[in-house]
């Protein structure tokens, strides 16, 4: 019997070791990009998936395969291997690659700034022709610079506006979309009386709480930072904003328990006709279309005293790592991407907004995209160039929903502490 116990203990310990070592999985297998014989160069690229995932017709794999095949046909000496990773995992997986010294040649994701300080990236003018970089929207290109030198190349962008369900508005006898918070509350109450379960869709859950929060903050002249560039998450304006939102939540005028709801769920509910109004972007249009919702309108986001004259702009980036050399080949690929039809195709497929003047011109006739294109030049952005943002952002995603459930000042105060620590 004792032997069995010892055996059990040994088995137990072995299992502990195996199970706990599973936790740290996800090793990248990249980095094998030596040029082989015949001048053949293989570029390794990691990209985020804008589509609905592997196997779907709009998956990132399908999109990039089309681009890469076309590029390879024009440049037989250069092969591009693309690894597409979904948005939830890409940051963590890329971090693992960097930590293990197995960086890709090209990375397309949501941020570039953290790689600059350690000199992991090529400068933009080393990997992009002047005629391409000259066509970038000036305001966007500025955000790609650290200390005056450009490292990040704007890839795609998006902006936000208020979507409202015209059928539900008609049912509740609301003639036009709200412009102020008071009008918003009045409209929400009418919708509620007309039997709409979620008059205002409020996703403050993990997926994108930082975006929804920022849109509300902008409506009261607030933001994550004040005009002087200091963190101001618990500024009086922001506390007032969240107190107002808490009022909506307590009155049952929003998505229930907003702090646990992802935007995707709320957008799907809007598409299903269960939500009266919701903040969305061009990328939510395919979701509404897929759900069969046709009769919706787009309007500027209401603020406390009037509609916002700005909106949240989000930019994604593409960048080149300098570890394996290959600057010349990368330059060919980037020029091919921006001057060919690939950049247009990505805007078309995923309803993302272009980042070049040429691209915006091409799309300006699209009725549904027009409000967003108009909003782009005056957009506000996250303070992502502040290194602290990398820590503040996950904290916001996890906890800011509490500000419409508990004491707003206390929850925002805790986030402010995270931003100011160290």
């Amino acid at each position: 019997m004792n032997m069995k116990l010892v055996g059990g203990a040994a088995l137990g310990l072995a299992t502990v070791l195996v199970l706990s070592s599973c936790g740290s999985g996800g090793s990248g297998d990249g980095g094998n990009t030596q040029a082989s014989g015949g001048g053949q160069v293989t570029l390794k690229m990691v990209a985020a998936d804008y589509g609905d995932g592997p196997g779907k017709p709009n998956s990132g794999e399908t999109f990039w395969k089309g681009v890469v095949d076309e590029f390879h046909a024009a440049n037989p000496n250069i092969k591009v291997e693309v690894q597409v990773i979904n948005w939830n995992d890409i940051d963590k997986q890329v971090a693992t690659m960097v930590q293990n010294g197995q960086v890709p040649d090209i990375l397309q994701t949501g941020d570039y700034s953290g790689f600059v300080k350690d000199q992991l990236l090529y400068k933009v003018d080393e990997v992009l022709s002047p005629n391409v970089s000259g066509d970038m929207l000036q305001k966007f290109a500025e955000f790609g610079k650290v200390d005056g030198t450009a490292y990040g190349i704007p890839f795609v962008s998006s902006a936000r506006a208020l979507f409202y369900n015209k059928d539900l508005f008609a049912k509740a006898n609301i003639t036009e979309p709200p412009k102020t918070w008071d009008e918003l509350k009045a409209a929400a109450e009418k919708l509620k009386a007309a039997g709409v379960t979620q008059p205002f869709g409020l996703p403050l859950g993990q997926e994108e709480a930082q975006a929804e929060s920022f849109l509300w903050m902008l409506g009261n002249g607030g933001g994550y930072k004040d005009a002087s560039g200091k963190w101001a998450i618990n500024s009086p304006q922001n506390v007032e904003t969240f107190t107002y939102m808490k009022g909506l939540v307590d009155a049952g005028l929003t998505t229930p328990n907003p702090g646990t709801k992802d935007r995707k769920t709320v957008w799907e509910d809007f598409g299903a006709g269960k939500v009266g109004m919701v903040n969305g972007g061009p990328m939510s249009i395919p979701i509404f279309d897929a759900a069969g919702l046709k009769n919706y309108g787009v309007a500027p986001i209401p603020g406390k005293a009037g509609p916002l004259d700005t909106t949240l702009g989000v930019m994604d980036w593409i960048m080149a790592f300098n570890k394996n050399g290959h600057a010349a080949e990368i330059k060919k690929f980037f020029d091919f991407f921006y001057t060919g039809n690939a950049a247009t195709k990505i805007s078309d497929t995923y309803k993302l907004l272009p980042v070049t003047n040429g691209g915006i011109e091409k799309l300006s006739s699209d009725e549904k995209l027009k409000p967003f294109l108009d909003a782009l030049p005056n957009a506000s952005f996250y303070p992502f160039q502040d290194p602290k943002w990398a820590e503040v952002n996950p904290a916001i995603k996890q906890t800011i929903g509490g500000a419409v459930k508990e004491d707003p000042a206390k929850v925002l105060g805790e986030l402010q502490k995270v931003a100011e620590a160290g």
């Binding site: 310990l13 199970l19 971090a95 930590q99 379960t197 328990n257 820590e391 996890q398």
Partner: protein, 294 residues
């Protein structure tokens, strides 16, 4: 020649030892090493960080709550799993028509991916369209779909029981089969002897079945303890540990920290690792103590 003979065992165990060192020990060492490094969110190692990662971790506002919740989570899930499995194993050890089908059916939650099961339960609990809420609506337990009352995963007090339920649901099949195998090893003459001595059913179960089932029970419960402590997909898929951190366990916190501070996340992994060892030792102690009394 004789000396070579003596070395022979090494040739046999060697590959296994190499494998264990490579895939088990090495990652553990890397994990511990990472917990003392300063690593940016982007994966750039910025040098040694001493104990600062641990310091930061222990000073997280929600750390204590999360650790307590993790222990409660493990105890609740494992205790319920074992109790239900003991009953099910007894049932499936009887002969009854359709036993084969019933035994096969029990495999289903085990064979399905845990993540898939968790997502299906999340859908069934959806406040707007979830089937569980439609049933509750028909039964008159809630007034309408879509409101806070229909949103059980939105609040920790109602979400935790559902998380425990799903964890038990996916753990029961394995545990039942382990116990069923244990029951099959108990020789029937022991039961005959007990009957001769006039032992009742309860007495037989308590004094014969349970003690003889102990090895199987120990192994099954131990594997469950570790599995449940490290369990990630159920909570992540159903609540992301939200609202706030109020449904997060230490494994969830480790994953969230990985997005902001890899060094701190590694420190959390090391603490997790220590916790599993401590829980295991306590568990083995407790089961030995049981034996001495019996």
């Amino acid at each position: 020649m004789r000396r070579l003979r003596a070395l022979e065992p090494i040739a046999w165990v060697g590959p296994a030892v190499v494998l264990i060192v490579l895939v088990v020990l090495w990652p553990v060492i890397e994990m511990i090493r990472s917990s003392f490094l300063k690593i940016s969110r982007f994966g750039v190692v910025q040098g040694s960080n001493g104990l600062a990662n641990y310091d930061k971790l222990f000073n997280e506002k929600d750390f204590a709550d999360i650790m307590v919740r993790s222990v409660i989570w493990v105890v609740a899930v494992v205790a319920l799993t074992v109790l239900i499995s003991l009953a099910l194993a007894q049932l499936f050890n009887q002969r009854f028509p359709g036993r084969k089908i019933a035994r096969w059916a029990l495999i289903a939650p085990w064979a399905a991916s845990v993540l898939m099961t968790a997502i299906i339960f999340k859908w069934m609990l959806d406040p707007e369209v979830g089937v569980i809420n439609q049933i509750r609506l028909k039964l008159g337990l809630i007034d309408a779909m879509g409101g806070a009352a229909a949103d059980q995963l939105g609040d920790a007090s109602t979400a935790m029981p559902w998380l425990v339920f799903v964890a038990v649901f996916v753990s029961v099949p394995f545990t039942t089969y382990a116990l069923l195998a244990g029951l099959a090893t108990i020789p029937s003459d022991v039961y005959e002897a007990a009957r001769m001595d006039g032992a009742g059913r309860l007495r037989t179960y308590w004094s014969i079945t349970l003690p003889l089932l102990r090895p199987a029970l120990t192994v099954a419960a131990l594997i469950n303890v570790m599995n449940v402590f490290n369990s990630f997909p159920i909570i992540w898929a159903m609540t992301h540990g939200q609202p706030g951190y109020s449904t997060a366990t230490s494994t969830i916190l480790m994953f969230i920290l990985k997005g902001s501070d890899i060094g701190e996340s590694a420190a959390m992994s090391v603490v997790n690792f220590g916790m599993v060892i401590v829980l295991t030792v306590i568990f083995l102690r407790v089961s030995r103590w049981n034996k001495e009394v019996a």
